[in-house]
């Protein structure tokens, strides 16, 4: 598509529930990134994919968070046993590749997650 698409745009869930957030990157972009933005903060890196594999998942806060990109395009961020502290806007970005500084990230509008 023309831009990075994220669904849902808003998600309200109860503590302890399971949540999936979807990201559809720009067509042809091989690198895909997930960030989390809490209120009043800058985006915080979670994980990035080069193709189908997670090249760096060092930003995932704990093992309740998991992300996949099985076919190298769409990615899903999965959060198990949600906690109130998981409430944030989850941003997805993609770039043509992850190499060098020549490529820049294009961000989606984000998925706002609220855990009650």
């Amino acid at each position: 598509g023309a831009g990075v698409s994220q669904t849902p745009s808003n998600k309200v869930t109860e503590k302890g529930k399971y949540v999936e957030l979807r990201c559809d990157p720009i067509s042809g972009h091989t690198a895909l990134y997930w960030y989390r933005q809490s209120l009043g903060q800058g985006p915080e890196f979670l994980i990035y994919f080069q193709g189908t594999g997670a090249a760096d998942d060092s930003g995932l806060p704990n093992d309740r968070f998991f992300a996949v990109r099985p076919e190298g395009s769409v990615s899903t961020l999965k959060i198990q046993r949600t906690e109130r502290g998981d409430s944030a806007v989850y941003l997805c970005a993609s770039s043509l590749t992850s190499q060098a500084g020549a490529n820049v990230l294009t961000f989606g509008a984000g998925s706002r997650l609220t855990v009650l």
Partner: protein
């Protein structure tokens, strides 16, 4: 690891006035530096980037930024602010391969009529 500090949480300027948003970074090697703007309900939009070469970089919407290695700074400037520039501005620094971009906490810009 790299990090970014944006000292000003909130800045208010009058329409037509000049603007400078401060950004200081910490990174051991040559940094890749970025400024993004975020309007309410919108995704982050890239204003400009610095990778190498000329330390004064021009971006979209009339913005420019200057990389000063000696001061570890990458301040964003605009000579005349428009009401539509009201938004949140984020400075970011990345490693050479872009896989771990670190953002500052942001500066919220309010534009007075």
């Amino acid at each position: 690891a790299q990090s970014v500090t944006q000292p000003d949480i909130h800045i208010t300027v009058s329409e037509g006035a000049s603007l400078e948003l401060r950004c200081n970074y910490s990174y051991g090697a040559t940094p890749y530096l970025f400024w993004y703007v975020q309007s309410p309900g919108q995704g982050l939009q890239l204003l400009l980037k610095y990778f190498s070469g000329d330390t004064l970089v021009q971006g979209i919407k009339g913005f420019e930024a200057e990389f000063k290695r000696s001061q570890s700074s990458f301040n964003l400037r605009k000579p005349s602010v428009h009401w539509s520039d009201a938004a949140e501005y984020f400075c970011a620094v990345a490693k050479y391969n872009n896989n771990d971009m670190r953002f500052g906490a942001g500066t919220r810009l309010t534009v007075k009529p």
